[in-house]
């Protein structure tokens, strides 16, 4: 078994003259849950897309070691509206395991529904099920709960924690929510000036420390 799920070395990404990622290094252990914070425009999504291999037409260099089994969760559930729920879950994999994955996210019996018939929270559960059937060794999540209401978000946190404890993928969760990061992750990173500016274990992280790294001063 590899000692790391992801290893990023000297990653640089730039758009025109602006360097978004500048010689960034990052290693994530197998089964480790890492949250990535950063101001908007700091390059969180750029990093996630680079690791997911979804960044076309960008210039940059660096080496990426990423497992083959990667699943990506987007901010919007990104279900194809013309496929029924089950077909969305099994998109790109051999059919058969979708129903079990739907059961794991609490949506048994909704296999035949159209995405538009589901609530926002349910759609995001389907998206999680779509990640699950891939049995990922790495889960990349780009603010997956950003568009949900506060109550639904709490329930999704519980679900995600439960699923991660069971399946143990390495997770890179991009978020702008400090509390979410501290609550869910083993390790919290802050992206600053194109690099990992702060790298702390989540359990004894000082919230104000993280906030100040994000440019929000502690109340006087």
């Amino acid at each position: 078994m590899a000692t790391h799920a992801v290893r990023v070395n000297g990653l640089t990404r730039q758009f025109q003259d602006r360097k978004i990622l500048d010689d960034l290094d990052l290693t994530i252990a197998p089964g480790e849950f890492v949250a990535l914070l950063g101001r908007s425009g700091s390059g969180k999504s750029t990093l996630l897309k680079a690791i997911a291999g979804l960044d076309h037409d960008v210039t940059g260099e660096g080496t990426l070691e990423v497992p083959h089994e990667v699943a990506v969760a987007f901010q919007d559930s990104r279900l194809l509206p013309w496929l029924r729920v089950l077909d969305n879950v099994e998109l790109g994999v051999k059919p058969g395991r979708g129903a079990a994955a739907l059961e794991e996210v609490g949506l048994q019996g909704r296999e035949k529904a159209w995405p538009a018939e589901l609530s926002g929270g349910e759609q995001q559960r389907v998206a999680l099920a779509r990640c699950l059937v891939r049995e990922p060794r790495l889960l990349l999540a780009d603010e997956p709960f950003g568009a949900l209401d506060a109550l639904t978000r709490i329930r999704m946190h519980d679900l995600l924690r439960e699923l991660c404890a069971k399946h143990r993928p390495a997770v890179l969760l991009v978020t702008h929510d400090v509390d979410e990061a501290v609550e869910l992750a083993d390790r919290v990173l802050v992206l600053q000036d194109g690099r990992i500016g702060l790298d702390l274990p989540a359990h004894d992280t000082d919230r104000t420390h993280l906030l100040s790294a994000l440019g929000i001063g502690a109340p006087a």
Binding site: A52, G53, L54, A71, V72, F74, D76, R78, L80, P81, W82, L83, L91, G92, V93, W114, P115, A116, E117, R130, R134
Partner: protein, 277 residues
């Protein structure tokens, strides 16, 4: 907080809250849409019955109904309808097939796009009916010529709509397809084609309207059969009743074809129904 309750009664809101004046249109009149046309027919009937409306300008409604029945019984109308329908259907079929295939070739490959798209865009600038003189020289004035003119019109419309739909797939879905590792064939089958279907249907509905328009124009130049020919002859003899019968048939063509397409569209795009409520 109790002091809030101690306020004098005069300041409190009136027992029944005053309702604001409604600015929206309010409830629709039952069967309102039929009202206008019915009124026109009533006025028309009265004018015809009292002799205020000269039959040489416009025949009475009952004359038109009688003429319609006569033309049906002596076989003239069914024959003309069949001829016209055949022209429109063949033109529509070949045009839609050609336009859609060209759009797929151009929408799914850059080489196809380079070869086809510019050419069709140039064609788009030229109204298809403007090609009539050239096509008469090439094909004569027979059925082939009529079918080709309709097909060219339809193909252009179908190409433009389908191509726009194929190339306009939401980039978020493209990213998803990449993220879940679809190959190209799966991507086309699961993402591009179903995603382009609404645009394709929009094209069909625009095309069917255009095919009737082309048909009307074609049947009034050098035709020796069909609804248009029937009407053209009636014009020579001043038979306004026959002309109106022809107009009613054209109207039915348009109405029925659009209704059929809507029905097919509703079935094919069942996933959309939930979006619109």
């Amino acid at each position: 907080m109790t002091h809030v309750l101690d306020r004098p009664a005069a300041v409190a809101a009136p027992a029944a809250p005053t309702r604001r004046t409604r600015l929206g249109l309010g409830r629709p009149i039952p069967y309102g849409r039929v009202l206008g046309p019915t009124l026109i027919i009533v006025v028309w009937s009265v004018a015809s019955a009292t002799g205020a409306l000269d039959p040489r300008i416009l025949s009475a409604p009952w004359t038109i109904v009688r003429t319609g029945i006569e033309l049906t019984e002596n076989g003239k109308l069914p024959e003309s309808v069949l001829t016209s329908l055949q022209r429109a259907a063949l033109g529509f079929f070949f045009g839609a097939a050609t336009g859609t295939l060209l759009a797929i070739a151009s929408g799914l490959s850059r080489v196809g796009e380079a070869l086809i798209d510019g050419t069709v865009q140039v064609k788009r600038a030229i109204p298809s009916l403007g090609l009539i003189p050239l096509l008469i020289l090439w094909l004569g004035i027979g059925e082939e010529f009529k079918i080709v003119v309709i097909a060219v019109t339809i193909a252009t419309i179908m190409y433009l709509q389908t191509h726009a739909a194929l190339t306009g797939i939401d980039s978020r879905y493209v990213e998803l397809a990449e993220a879940v590792g679809l190959n190209r064939a799966q991507y086309v089958r699961k993402v591009v084609f179903p995603g382009a279907l609404p645009g394709f249907f929009l094209g069909l509905r625009l095309a069917v309207t255009a095919s009737w328009l082309s048909l009307v124009v074609l049947e009034q130049i050098n035709a020796t059969s069909g609804i248009g020919y029937l009407m053209f002859q009636a014009q020579n003899y001043g038979q306004t009743d026959v002309i109106v019968v022809g107009l009613v048939v054209y109207g039915l063509f348009g109405f029925v074809s659009d209704a059929v397409l809507r029905l097919v569209e509703r079935r094919a795009l069942a996933w959309r129904r939930t979006l619109s409520g």
